[in-house]
């Protein structure tokens, strides 16, 4: 599995690991926006910063989804 890092865009992540789409959908509520609609081409760190998300938690949730 390629190392997922915060420089990757949402599209990079969901296209390689389709199971992570559910993770981003869960974060829509926290963000107050559809992340896959509005920020598909933005790196994860920037998305976390913009919507005040816990980047470490987001990365953990993504990696957990891929690991299962």
């Amino acid at each position: 599995m390629e190392n997922i890092n915060a420089q990757m865009t949402i599209l990079d992540v969901v296209s390689k690991y389709r199971e992570t789409e559910a993770v981003f959908k869960r974060y829509d509520q926290k963000a107050g926006a559809c992340l896959c609609c509005e920020e598909l081409f933005e790196p994860l760190w920037k998305v976390a910063e913009k919507y005040h998300l816990d980047l470490n938690k987001l990365m953990y949730d993504i990696e957990e989804a891929v690991a299962i």
């Binding site: 969901v14 389709r18 559910a22 559809c34 509005e38 598909l40 081409f41």
Partner: protein, 226 residues
């Protein structure tokens, strides 16, 4: 309520399908109506990576998808035009190195009248009542026979117990994957997967929500509900 319709055999289909095939040598078309982001972009990405068509036309029904598909095509060096027809957006990309499609020369997009759009909604993992083992076998048989609908089978929606057909280890998985490979959009209820604790076990189709379901039913020519 079960609605069941007889359809013609494959050898009775009209030659309009052959015409569509000839066009496909130059142009590929993706109908992404009813798909929530990032579905349209992911499908466009898969198509470009596998075929790199000279011209690609992606049909979407919302502004976000239109913008994302356009942006993705442009990132892949496609020249993009967008046409609007009512509530639909036709995002048309032409390969910079290939033939260019001029919007003023291209005829206006026509509605899809040749191919029906049939949605099959499945709310269970077995057919009928009385014997569950028989019911499961009948469901597998039903899914295997769905391909006889040909291109008329547009979407498969799985809700409630139906989502269990899509998880790892399901006997239905090879059949569903074959349908997906043949272009059938398989939508799997995310709420249902979460309820059953199966969200991460889904192995085919796209996780969807009620908006996608309602939109698919609205756009369908026929709905078969199992």
């Amino acid at each position: 309520m079960l609605k069941f319709t007889m359809w013609p055999r494959r050898d009775e289909f009209q030659p309009s399908m052959k015409l569509h095939t000839e066009v496909n040598r130059m142009m590929k078309e993706l109908d992404c109506r009813g798909l929530a982001c990032p579905g349209p972009v992911l499908r466009t990405k898969d198509l470009l990576e596998n075929h790199r068509p000279d011209v690609i036309k992606v049909i979407v029904d919302n502004e976000a998808s239109k913008q994302n598909v356009k942006r993705f095509m442009e990132s892949q060096n496609y020249k993009v035009n967008v046409e609007i027809d009512g509530s639909l957006f036709y995002v048309i990309g032409s390969d910079e190195a290939g033939s260019e499609v001029q919007s003023e020369e291209r005829p206006a997009p026509e509605p899809h009248v040749e191919t029906k759009k049939i949605v099959v909604m499945i709310g269970t993992d077995r057919m009928g009542y009385g014997d569950d083992e028989l019911g499961k076998k009948l469901m597998l048989n039903f899914l295997a026979t769905l391909k006889e609908m040909g291109d008329d089978l547009w979407r498969l929606i799985l809700i409630n117990n139906g989502v269990k057909l899509t998880i790892e280890g399901s006997d239905a998985l090879p059949i569903l994957k074959e349908l997906a490979d043949n272009g059938v959009y398989i939508l799997v209820c995310g709420t249902c997967l979460t309820y059953f604790g199966l969200l991460d076990k889904k192995d085919v189709g796209e996780t969807t929500n009620m908006l996608d379901v309602v939109t698919s039913l609205q756009l369908a020519d026929k709905v078969i509900n199992i």
